[in-house]
Symmetry: C2
Subunit: 428 residues, 2 copies
């Protein structure tokens, strides 16, 4: 039985209890939301996750960190360092997107070291295999595809991105669309190229039942990938994107009805004013399934700062109802991220998620506590409450240099500190 | 005659022409907006600004970088380095907020080196003088106050923050409000403390006519400071803040009617969902005067990342109609920023401003051009178009290492680059 099956029978599992406790909601709420398909707890039956996380409506917005090798930069050690950074920065989930080196070995080490839900894109392993075999990743073998998916499920992968919605109907729309950046999803681009070459239907769409059977067996959460996600402002909210979203809505309905936990992936690049409408549309078209957005990036012109462009879009998306933010690092569009980029990416996404949650969940207690500490110039409390305590080293060094140990003001204002002046005023 | 006087007489000045050309609008539009008080071009009659900037409705959102010494960190050389970083990062305006060292000397050097509009907070010089004289910045001398203001105007300062709206009525409201962080504006805190101590009215409010006379004489743009801006989520949109905004609206109306260019300062810290309503309220209450916001920061918990918290709020504010974003650096709430922090702060604010302008001004051509270059894997064009070309060093180093010089893919995807696969597809 999958988690959805159990929820529908009225059972409250240990995972549901753990998530309810963390979120400060009733276990019955978590159970009922899982039963409805509006909330998931990604956890493969083969995995022992120490730290389960719920993703969906009515609970904290979650953050995912993508790690993984590429052919150009391929070091398991670096990837484990990136994983450690992501966990230290308090990511809620991790995806291993490796495409270089011994993928199975790297995945096993990451699975062992990650106490959080772990996701993959099985298509990548398939392409790497095909590429190694015949120097063309475009040779897609359907049996091998499902072998790879089942193999990764057997290893314990908790959630998988599967580009099921990019079918021949959607491909036809993208061919007509005259996009500026075409298809920017790697999985989407390869599936599309294979379909265009062979004239055959996307096997993830055609053999969706087979996929669901594997997902049911291991209770793998399906993350229905948006192969046609917009890769620039100009392509956002176009017909191909919305066509695929309709497909994903239908596929999600089928998965949930068969007891398979499902989330929907979203943009990508998107202008500020299209983000909230897009989230509302996804919730409507996909029966309220959890929405997992990549950014969205609100401008195309800022490589080197795309953790910021995506924090802007992510905050607006999460505020509008998106449930899961895939981080974007400063090196997006420039190269594979290193450990520091991973940290910056997680922090930016956590800021976006929290800013939205303060409003969406009507809980500003963390902000209030921090602000009270700030008013009191209580640096120990501020450090403890800060989203990244390591950043308080600046203050500690400055305070250590002060002659008067009673002087708690920072190097910005010194004696002109408004907080100090307030305290002299009494009561303001 | 001030710029407003000239605009009202129908004159199109050289400044108006220069701004119209930069913005791609008709000079008549700039003239009429200046006449109405909805747009300003900060420029002291004593100054030769090489690069004038318009701030207001219908044109690009502008960014300001605060620099300046503190008592703890006081080096003219560092401040000039910070100015150079801010200019290199393409800030539209600079404020010198120095409170340490020889203020007049530092200001002169910054004025000389800055081709953009330069602003100050004259109250700071007053407090530093009072503090040096009698070790209490709370001794406020009205004659000295106006001497300082006129002195700075004579030196050529283009715009000045003046906390005119924090009068006894507003002070009474903040006393009743039980705020979490009280008054967080330095100028505001000192004015309030002086008023509370003496029982007297804020001289900038009481002698507003005298201030207007100086502003008229030098055509200094008044930036009406919000001494009661919220310093945390909990204090946002409270009665003191809105009371002061009403005062600022009245004062702006008077200034504009007397030919003095005026902008209104705004928050500060503010939850996501209050930002757009706040901007709409400011535009209504202040007759559409340009709105100059500090952030807003959308959470209180992220010291070390407040360039990001403020980029989120700044994008939403600018999209809703804010005209001028004061940057916030990563060291906000931790200490005085250094040159790198200045760069990061300007970039984050420029991203927020541009993301908003793409929507507000309906111009996504820059994004489109960048995306076309990205699709073509044209790294030279991407570098040229990037908001920070220096960030492309990563790619250049990676490409230099490649064996095949025809391989233009970055280290993220390599042979699995979606753009490459698209090009094989033909036409998608």
């Amino acid at each position: 039985m999958t988690l959805i099956d159990k929820a529908r029978k009225g059972t409250i599992t240990a995972e549901m209890k753990a998530v309810a406790k963390k979120e400060g909601v009733a276990p019955e709420f978590i159970r009922d939301e899982i039963a409805s398909g509006r909330l998931v707890i990604p956890k493969n039956v083969k995995r022992k996750i120490l730290d389960v996380e719920g993703i969906g409506a009515g609970i904290r917005t979650k953050v995912n960190a993508n790690i993984g090798t590429s052919k150009d930069r391929c070091s398991t050690k670096t990837e484990l360092a990136k994983l450690a950074e992501a966990l230290d920065a308090k990511t809620d989930a991790v995806m291993d997107l490796s495409t270089g080196g011994d993928l199975k070995q790297i995945r096993r080490e990451i699975l062992d070291a990650c106490p959080k839900p772990l996701g993959t894109v099985p298509l990548y392993e398939l392409f790497v295999k095909a590429s190694n075999r015949c120097s063309s990743a475009l040779k897609l073998d359907v049996e091998e595809l499902f072998d790879v998916i089942e193999g990764q499920a057997e290893e314990g992968v908790d959630f998988m991105t599967v580009h099921c919605g990019l079918n021949l109907t959607a491909l036809e729309r993208v061919r007509r669309a005259k996009r500026v950046t075409g298809i920017v999803s790697r999985g989407g681009a390869f599936i599309a190229a294979w379909m265009a070459t062979t004239g055959m239907e996307n096997p993830l769409y055609e053999h969706y039942d087979r996929l669901l059977k594997i997902a049911r067996k291991y209770d793998v959460t399906l993350s229905l990938g948006d192969g046609l996600r917009p890769g620039c402002m100009a392509d956002a909210s176009d017909r191909p994107m919305i066509q695929e979203m309709i497909m994903l809505g239908e596929l999600a309905e089928k998965a949930v009805s068969e007891g398979v936990q499902t989330i929907i992936e979203g943009p990508g690049h998107m202008p500020l004013d299209e983000i909230a409408p897009n989230v509302k549309l996804q919730k409507s078209v996909c029966n309220g399934a959890p929405y997992y957005v990549l950014g969205p990036l609100v401008t195309d012109v800022a490589p080197g700062y795309d953790h910021i462009t995506s924090a802007i879009g992510g905050a607006i998306a999460a505020w509008a109802g998106a449930d899961f933010l895939c981080y974007v690092t400063p090196t997006e569009h420039l190269g594979l991220p290193g450990p520091k980029d991973v940290r910056d990416g997680v922090m930016a996404s956590r800021i976006a998620a929290h800013a939205a949650d303060a409003v969406k969940l009507k809980d500003k207690s963390w902000d209030r506590e921090m602000s009270a500490a700030r008013k009191a110039l209580d640096w120990e409390a501020q450090e403890r409450l800060g989203i990244d305590p390591a950043k308080f080293d600046i203050v500690k060094q400055d305070l250590a240099k002060k002659k008067k140990t009673s002087d708690k003001t920072c190097s910005m204002c010194g004696e002109f500190c408004a907080m100090e002046v307030n305290s002299k005023l009494g009561g303001v």
